[in-house]
């Protein structure tokens, strides 16, 4: 019921953004619809938290809801602060990514049964590790949305500006992701299993993701003409975040419950 309203709000937001492309209103209705969607998804997580008597980010289903929430949040922050006219396209792509993420929670990929967390998950590091990983990734998602628009557009003047958006969103998302996924993850692993690092498939893929974005940021400093190459690398980086989150669970089982 709560989730259905979240779907409706995001669809309404997308519809209003499409209308906005043709008729320019002074007030962006979609910003309010997005905020409503964020509140709705938060309510769903609070409802589940009360039921399991723990912070509800303990399985794939809850993680997808949280991730979708933070992508809408990152997109809306961008939408509210950007003054450029074409930023609406990036917002639109970002909202679609959030919608797809939320839709995945209704597929067999995610079990929505309410189960309390196993002993290993009962730690204060759960919130710090998981929440920061996804908040970081949601800024990387905005960078990805901008990268898609960059690769699709032919307008060179726009490209220069969009490229700054890609760089800025990655510059925000990268440290948050690194601290949440890798550093806090390592500290938690030490506390729970007695080692900072264990070459678990999810750990290794998070490291590869980190390295690809690290490569992006360093190449971005030295790239003079080959900006497009760095944009393509950032796209690979984001695809790797998705694979680390969902693909690893399906193909390479390890210590992570999701």
């Amino acid at each position: 019921m709560i989730l259905t309203s979240a779907y409706c709000l995001i669809i309404a937001s997308l519809a209003s953004q499409i209308v906005d492309i043709f008729i320019k209103f002074k007030i962006k209705l979609s910003v309010f619809l997005n905020i409503a969607a964020i509140v709705t998804l938060l309510l769903e997580l609070i409802r589940r938290s009360i039921l399991i008597k723990y912070i509800a980010i303990t399985n794939t289903y809850e993680a997808l809801i949280f991730y979708s929430l933070s992508i809408i949040l990152a997109t809306t922050i961008y939408q509210a602060t950007s003054k450029k006219d074409f930023s609406r396209y990036i917002t639109f792509i970002g909202t679609i990514i959030a919608f797809i993420t939320l839709s995945l929670s209704s597929t067999p990929l995610a079990d929505n049964s309410i189960t309390p967390p196993i002993p290993a998950l009962r730690s204060n590091w759960l919130l710090a590790h998981v929440a920061l990983s996804f908040i970081g990734e949601s800024f990387l998602a905005v960078g990805f949305a901008a990268a898609i628009f960059y690769l699709a557009t032919k307008d060179e003047e726009k490209k220069v500006y969009i490229e700054k958006i890609i760089k800025n969103s990655i510059s925000v998302g990268y440290p948050i992701f690194t601290i949440g996924a890798l550093l806090f993850g390592a500290i938690w692993a030490k506390n729970a299993w007695g080692r900072y690092w264990g070459w678990d498939p999810k750990e290794t893929f998070a490291l590869i993701t980190f390295l690809v974005y690290t490569l992006y940021l360093h190449l971005r400093i030295i790239a003079k003409t080959k900006i497009k190459t760095t944009v393509i690398i950032s796209v690979f980086g984001f695809l790797l975040t998705i694979f680390t989150f969902l693909g690893v669970n399906l193909l390479l089982p390890g210590l992570h419950s999701y």
Partner: protein, 243 residues
Amino acid sequence: MNNINKILKYFRSIHFGAALISLFIVFFILGIVIPQNQATDFYADLYPKRISDIIIFLGLNDIYRSFIFVFLSFLFVFNLSYCSVYRIFKNIKIKRLYFGPDIIHIGLLVIIVGGVVSSITRLEDYIVAIEGDSIKISEDITIIVGDIEKETYPDGSPKSYQTNVSVSANGEITKKSIKVNSPLKISGITVYQNNYGLTEFNEEYTGLKFIKDNGDVFILIGIILIGIGFLLTYYKKIKEGER
């Protein structure tokens, strides 16, 4: 002389750093794609002969200990330390207070040092015990296992595992508990709740992991340095952005 300068300049350059990062990405992917630490026959069965020969020859079956990976790591440490030292001195010379990225780089180096120290000094022991067992840790310290607790949720699934122990050090006895996510530290050794079950006589047993690792402190310092480095970098970026 000129050529040597050129080579040195390349070794501390961001270009060389980026090349090494790319190679690490390739190696980590290979480390996942190629099953690790299997018998030689395993690779012969899995891959065509030419490929399995290459895997064995290059040591890709134990990739993180292979010569190429270790060599790459050396080059990486050299590049990173050289670049950091050079940048720090340059910034001091021109009186520019901007060390964020350097602190991140140094943090990474400290973690690598910690990893090496850990791989040399780490001691790990796994002990299964029941209530009443005593485990001698050192000459003066003994752990006596008390009651072993399993807590469950109303639906019967496990909520927590806990081992209550008495630590006897130099004749003094203190009561402590070891829980999942809450290990016990005794004089440089950390004890983890690792397993729980019932013996064939229906007694509760606990699996405890004892770890002593001198690399830990380096890794923790490295992690903190990287965190500080990020904060400094972004503090600077935000300040520049305001202008």
